[in-house]
Subunit: 357 residues, 2 copies
DNA sequence: CTGTTAGCGCGTTCAT
DNA sequence: ATGAACGCGCTAACAG
């Protein structure tokens, strides 16, 4: 790989002149300019960002850590973050934590070692995050994405999860449902899930109903069928299920269909996130949508402000974006007669390899 | 941010000793070791990867560019790539091209400037990719992911798209279908789509059928409903639709349901990719599954081999992984009576904002 | 307009 | 076992 000296030698000038040309930092004589251009073309020279970073003491690189890339809501937020970063001339390093605080912390260590200029992260629990502590100790600009702010001066881009879940629960209740269960995928590992449960519980309480405990479904490689069975086969089964995210909700709807239950006639199901695929299925998924892409973009802007120390009206405040209730077909009126739901087909895992071609 | 000299001063030793301690490169006296450890703890010192990279002339960083992160098949492959890289002690830079060859090329420029040690990429068309040309010119180790190899000595991790599409088409034909259409999302911008069409066309031809031209559906912010109308409302409409990817297939199934058509009774639909969500909906999506996560991992391994110049039995060969036909419920037998399909509801876009909370 | 030089953080060679 | 010194690629301050 050619370096600046190779170009300078070939162009018969000093490296300073080449640098000035590359950065447009000062006027260059036409002859020198021509020789430099030729030399750059000949050598295929490309300035080394790592050399630049060393000198500049800044990398123009941001880090972002999310629980996973396979949940569309995170993929979308990363996408927005990346776009905003690129428009501002920044690069992005991405890490996934797999909902593990230890991996979170390791990713942060990595990023600090890489000298990123700032860091966005969606952690499991912002109030007890070793990763966040590490960043603070290092004094790196940072912003939370989806998580609530754990300190008054913490930057955070999120929606009001409690209010959102409360609004959604009220919507469910308005359709006549009185037995509503809350299902969570990663309850222990997600402060969002817990906030949403609080909103749900508050709405139920206000309606004079006693909120049941959340049902935690930790299904990864299998269907949620087995875990749902006790809940569904009860004589006093719920008539509506509030799932803490859309991926979970779609899985639950699949299970219900396999059980021979109709959605929403026999059981209503709602989700949270507003992923695109929820609007592509029938019935469409009733959910509370977060503007995930915009949130990623906003997080990036906030972070860049912090890095550049841009004065803002309301520094270090929690940044709430609006959510939207999507009235999909998966939420219907409470059924008049309710019976237990039991499997009619044999349970089977998702990844059923039925034939190899 | 503390640097190695700060630590050395505090520990009353030279930077060389600190370096040796940090890298475990040579034995250190117990007293010095203790002082260094204390100093590191006190200062919060973290070795600068950028300093190391400058010295080492290698960054232990890989780049990967994919069309988008919001298509689960790419998100999954990136996830696998990332995992394999981390296990090998490498970091990963990710870029998305949005199916634009110019952005692809720009991403490659960026990565080269960042001095990544190697590059994995899913390009629009490997046979006419400026990005690929740039990498070759720079002599950077690289591997194609999902794309076919454009040269004999190109590393590529893919499935045999032609054979896969052919097998799937034969499966469709075996159910009695005689009019099968091919729908592509990004036909022009995806060499995979075109290969799959070739496999499809070959299977039809072998069955004595004339393959119709592919129908290109470039729907991003709207439903495919309008674009499908001419095809579906024809008296001689197809009885099965081969979609070039799963996201497209799910969108098409949604459109059919909105039209009041039943899948698979009135129309069969199959996809390509094998995304998880395809198995969560009812009917489950019949598709040919690629091991996307494993492909990402394999691509990473191949790339690392190339970087380390590991001798391999079959260097620079196209690397085919096995695909699998997933027999989902969306493929049924050809209907006995076939009538045109026309909309029963009003068309509406996906992102119908029905209420704001 | 151009060249010389110092120094960013680090690993390493060569002494000791 | 330890330290001094160089250089990786680059930019900026200074000198001309």
């Amino acid at each position: 790989m050619a370096n600046i000296k190779d170009v300078a030698d070939l162009a018969r000038c000093s490296i300073a002149t080449v640098s000035r040309y590359v950065n447009g930092a000062a006027p260059i004589s036409v002859e020198a300019r021509a020789r430099i251009e030729a030399a750059i073309f000949q050598t295929g020279y490309r300035p080394s960002e790592i050399g630049r970073s060393l000198k500049r003491q800044a990398t123009r690189t941001l880090g972002i850590v999310v629980p996973s890339l396979t949940n569309p809501v995170f993929a979308l937020s990363v996408s927005g973050f990346q776009l905003a970063a690129r428009l501002a001339g920044y690069h992005v390093l991405i890490a996934t934590s797999d909902y593990d605080p230890a991996i979170e912390a390791a990713a942060v260590e990595t990023f600090l070692g890489q000298s990123v200029d700032g860091l966005a992260l969606t952690v499991c629990d912002s109030f007890s995050s070793p990763a966040l502590a590490t960043i603070d100790a290092a004094g790196k600009p940072n912003v939370l994405l989806f998580n609530p702010a754990d300190q008054p001066d913490r930057l955070a881009v999120t929606v009001d999860n409690i209010a959102a879940a409360r609004a959604m629960t009220e919507t469910i209740l308005s359709r006549g449902h009185r037995r509503v269960a809350f299902l969570a995928g990663q309850f222990a590992a997600s402060d969002r899930s817990r906030l949403r449960y609080r909103g749900y519980a508050a709405a139920l309480a206000q309606a004079g109903l006693k909120p049941p405990l959340p049902l935690e479904l930790d299904f990864l490689d299998t269907t949620p069928d087995a875990a749902l069975l006790p809940l569904l086969s009860d004589d006093n089964r719920p008539t509506a299920l509030f799932c803490s995210n859309d991926v979970l909700a779609l899985g639950v709807i699949g299970a219900l269909k396999r059980f021979g239950a109709r959605v929403p006639d026999d059981m209503s199901v709602v989700g949270f996130d507003g992923i695109d695929l929820g609007q592509m299925v029938e019935p469409t998924l009733c959910t509370v949508a977060q503007p995930a892409r915009a949130m990623g973009e906003r997080a990036c802007e906030q972070l860049l402000n912090a890095i550049r120390n841009t004065p803002v009206d309301d520094p270090g405040a929690e940044h709430f974006l609006d959510f939207e209730i999507h009235h999909g077909g998966s939420l219907g009126p409470a059924p008049l007669i309710v019976g237990p739901i039991r499997p009619v087909k044999q349970l089977h895992p998702y990844n059923n390899k039925q034939e190899t071609a």
